[in-house]
Symmetry: C3
Subunit: 265 residues, 3 copies
């Protein structure tokens, strides 16, 4: 039998909550290959997890089953869903965390998890990663028919989240901070194509970061500036990133997610 | 050959100490499936590890081999033991960390690790996870007879630890804090059955947390209260938990393991 | 087919940067076994990673493929290399991080990664772990000929790093701090053989730690001194280690990597 990959994304950190999910999956399908994306999503940060999933899922083999447990509404009436897409299957709470990825991959069918036969016997009020999402992933990896798991849902019925696009007006690109990574690198929502089109060939860019003005070099390697110096670079998200060579840009510029980034064209 | 699962529980954090253990196991049995429970046990906290193991092991497939390295006495005369139970095998230092789990699973045989043939040639004074526990797990996963590993030990000869049960008297449930998780959720030693029996149908509960009085709602979902507000809930340990929706209850209430929780019935 | 082990060592922490690398490897070779050494190397600390690799690689099965991404020069002109050694294969940036390990294992061939056929189509400026090192490891694990990956390089052409050896003069051993582990244990560059030869049978040792004088017991187990008390021990690196039983020696002695340790013989 071909071994199926189950990829986990949670905000649990390195805790037994993840360990238990691994145990539950292997109890149902000892041949599953469990892979961690990361468990270090900021607690309850649905938008951050959605952004990370969107930029990660496509690097996994087709047919990977993604289990996403960023679930501030656990125990409430929020639905638990399975989304069958063109290349992948996504499982998680219906709170928007899956939305950008499933739209990009191409939604085929959405199911509400409803069949008590494929979840743990006792469902707690606080840990559906263990009681619902892990067992469902285990059974799907064994080939259970998705239509056995619960009724279908229309795409229009699930929770949506979208990322703001930058606005271009008055010779300015008005963007914002989408994500700050573990190194403190600041990932903006201004993508490489916009920079190529509007800042073509420029070595220095004038910009406002959270209402303070700077002129920063646009470089091809962090090491193009001295250690401790700020820079702009097109990063691995293919986005404009504000970074410090060897340092923490989010601290240097005192910024947080959602702060405005305004570039003068 | 059926592939065997080896589950690791340590207080090493994300360090090469865990990486080396994985390497040692795979050197002996490349077909072993190594699964992390967590490596984030508070350093040297045997009681915490015992509690986490007790609440985790049963979610793993039967015949899983558990390797527990919370080992403040490494290099001293404390024994290293293997406990064959009804469904699982447990390996670790004889300091009580295995005790609650092996009793629950049902002890069949206990062995002292003594045969130098199945451990690394050079045994360090500081890292028996690498030198003793990992190789023993590797050989057991390959099917070596447990009785080849060392002499038997009686259950009465190993180190015991037990968790305090709550006391019910004078219309009070006198419990304590068993565990504080990575989110700051406070897990008490008062289980769901006691609450069902003695607080049946109540929506609010009067209690003392570390000698301060509160009246808190008993809810079915963290999100039943506003973000930042305290609550009581039956959690994934099936225990009464004191939590803050989206916050850190251990900081909010300034408490630590062992602090008293007194409920007025 | 025999399943190949790919061992990862990075300074990425628990982030999606590691998760993506796992996905890329499995997309190329779903049968690869991915093992984490640690991702907790201090950011950009090439010497620390080199030391950890040197003390870890030999515990893995022969033919393990090591992928090391401590890469402050990503996007610059630093080379990306593959080193075929006697027992293992090492992949990483040519910044010295591989050097001590490949010398010890025995270098057979070194290749520059140059063939665009075996890396991702779009190579970012900031994340060669994903774009170059992970895919190369995936293809090597599938049996691709190393000579297909790029031109050969001589050992004399790659970046070297070496660890200082202690100096013995004037009845003193003048060493230094090589590494401080996650517990705050201080690992010196003074190995067990020097201690055996020069401090044979001594129970107490006079030494200077970062210019302050101490007399510390040389013990066989951390627990030979009371909790919170300092000690010397031969550790799992087979080095003289300065530790606090149950505590953090690096804080206690206020030291950092490279600080001098001087022992009076």
């Amino acid at each position: 039998m071909k071994r199926k990959i189950i990829a986990l994304l949670t905000d649990f950190g390195d805790t037994h909550y993840v360990g238990i999910m691994r145990g539950v999956i292997l109890s149902i399908n000892p041949n599953a290959i469990i892979v961690d994306i990361t468990h270090n999503i900021s607690r309850h940060n649905i938008a951050e997890a959605a952004f990370i999933l969107l930029n990660t899922y496509k690097y996994f083999p087709a047919k990977t089953i993604f289990v996403i447990v960023i679930d501030p509404g656990v125990g409430s009436s929020r639905k638990a869903i399975i989304v069958k897409c063109k290349r992948y299957i996504f499982i998680g709470p219906d709170n928007g965390v899956l939305y950008p990825s499933i739209i990009e991959d191409g939604v085929e069918d959405i199911y509400i998890i409803a069949n008590r036969k494929y979840v743990l016997e006792n469902i707690s009020q606080t840990f559906h990663g263990r009681d619902i999402f892990a067992p469902i992933a285990g059974y799907i990896s064994k080939g259970i028919k998705l239509s056995d798991l619960g009724p279908k849902l229309n795409l229009s019925e699930i929770v949506k989240i979208t990322f703001n696009k930058p606005i271009i007006r008055d010779k300015k690109i008005i963007g914002e901070i989408l994500y700050i990574d573990g190194f403190g690198n600041i990932v903006t929502n201004i993508d490489a194509n916009i920079i190529k089109k509007l800042c073509m060939g420029r070595r220095k860019i004038s910009l406002e970061i959270a209402e303070h003005k700077y002129v920063l070099p646009l470089v091809k390697s962090y090491s193009n500036v001295d250690r401790g110096k700020p820079l702009l670079i097109i990063d691995s998200f293919n986005m404009l990133e504000i970074a410090i060579n060897g340092g923490d840009a989010s601290k240097y510029f005192s910024v947080k997610n959602g702060d405005k980034i305004i570039i003068e064209i």
